[in-house]
Symmetry: C2
């Protein structure tokens, strides 16, 4: 019998969401547990199983499932292990193996950005594409690179850390959580936009709607709202952010010559404010042969489903 | 019958070298013609064939050959065409098809840096590696990227133009032949070293052995010779060049997580003068998980054979 379903598991620092997904990318059921409630990963896996069965039983049994795909921060596709994920309770665990054993079906894991890329390729904006780069613009900048229809894992399984490529080698470049300075994600993530906003408000006297806000709580949404109201400083922040991002995209294109770069995550809600400078800067920095030929597009997956869909896509492989 | 040989063709702006290669990477015979003598590509292909037969006949016939691999500037693997190669007499030609027809065996083409990568993987320093990046440091910076044992061609066949990633976004960055500014190859090629030497001699008064030389003819070899004699300016030029190159390598590692980066070309003759700062800068710019784990090594193919070997490696596929 063809197995019509897969399970997709998105493990976040706060919630772990598990969904039943069919081949058309419909999420037929979902459940979730609080990641941080389980210091013992054995209890976590067992609880996940019990919760999963509650949504599986009404539609049939685990025999109808092809496998489980899980998107996990620092999840290693090759080893199946979670290794050194700062915001998870477990620092080093053979997660895929534990899940496979508990559920009795094969579990594959990868990091969240790779899962997002799989989701776009299987159900989303990259359907039919063999070469594209997925960029997630959230707290950081994540990336999943697809070449010849396959996620690039590299020699050790950790390929695709484009958020930590360096865009500023000066001494005073922004400090990144990783310990380095000048990483792309310190400028071109949602957090990067907040940093830029705080910087410009504190170091200039320019009039801006942002000046009235609590500086430590300015979000990219605030900057978007200001730009929509015509605020010149807010617009300039998006130009600045988008230019850095577009320059980096040009470098990425010189590497793998993708058909498209697909954007997902909080910062994409800024729409044309971020897209316009990205596309402009990318094309200005491309070799003539690629100019105006590489698409930059927003993900078309529903945000609430995307992570589970992406994880589930792994299980069809 | 197993076909024991392949033909490797290296088309350069000056010479076109054709060699007979066996599975162990021995060049059993070679011949060459002057590329620029043939404005008509039909005559070029016919002459190549006639020259080839002169070295093939003594050992047997074309039936003993598995195919032809050709490394060509701007050669497109997907289309088999030479497209817009500035230093060749033919601007747009269905080269692979013409060769296949003339020789009666299959011809595959790719650009010279990809051919070099194939050569390293088949016969050289990358034997047994599935994930590595080949960097050629000559007049420019060429690159061939191998992921999962295969050359990365990308959506259009032109992937791997790392020499044109941008290392300096300032207005006064060095102008590249491609029309852009700040391309890696304007700093980190043999030509880049010459430019740095000229720059430092003309803009400072520092004592250096380089000052006595004809400024427009300083080569990376001159800078090497000076460094070997203890010249501080020459050493600083290598530090400067190697640092830029190493910083770029770190970015490349964040992309594809290779096991090694393999260096080939004129600038590698500078040995530790270029290698030391490359390795230092790369490691300083890597995420901790890769620090001191990615090898940077010189090609171990004989320079006179490397191009033909690289091209020939394509024909075993």
């Amino acid at each position: 019998m063809e197995k019509p379903y897969v399970l997709g598991l998105d493990i976040g620092g706060t919630n772990s969401v598990l969904g039943i997904v069919d081949a058309r990318g419909q999420v037929l059921g979902r459940t979730s547990i609080k990641t941080q409630d389980y210091r013992d990963i054995n209890v976590y896996v067992k609880t996940l199983y019990e919760e999963a069965m509650k949504i599986i039983t009404p539609i049939g049994s685990l025999e109808m499932f092809r496998g489980i795909g899980a998107g996990v921060p620092n999840g290693n596709y090759y080893t199946g292990r979670i290794e050194g994920a700062m915001n998870l309770p477990w620092q080093n665990a053979p997660f895929a193996e534990m899940m496979s054993k508990q559920f009795g079906i094969h579990c594959t894991i990868t990091n969240d950005a790779n899962a997002a890329a799989m989701g776009e390729m299987t159900y989303g904006a990259a359907k039919g594409m063999k070469n594209f780069i997925m960029i997630t613009l959230g707290t950081g900048v994540g990336s999943g690179i697809v070449i010849d229809g396959k996620i690039v894992y590299g020699h050790d399984g950790f390929a695709g850390e484009l958020g930590h490529t360096c865009v500023n080698h000066n001494q005073d470049a922004r400090l990144c959580n990783c310990g380095k300075r000048g990483c792309l994600e310190t400028y071109a993530s949602a957090t990067g936009v907040s940093r830029s906003a705080k910087e410009i408000v504190t170091t200039t006297n320019e009039p801006t709607l942002l000046r009235g806000l609590d500086l430590d709580k300015i979000t990219s949404k605030d900057v978007f709202d200001a730009a929509e109201k015509g605020d010149e400083v807010a617009k300039r922040i998006f130009d600045y952010t988008g230019t850095i991002l577009g320059q980096s995209f040009a470098d990425f294109v010189h590497f793998s010559a993708p058909e498209a770069i697909i954007l997902f995550g909080g910062l994409t809600k800024s729409g044309h404010w971020i897209m316009d400078p990205v596309v402009k800067a990318m094309n200005e920095n491309l070799l003539p042969l690629w100019r105006n030929k590489v698409k930059v597009i927003f993900s078309d997956l529903k945000e609430s489903d995307a992570a589970v869909l992406g994880a589930s896509a792994l299980a069809w492989e």
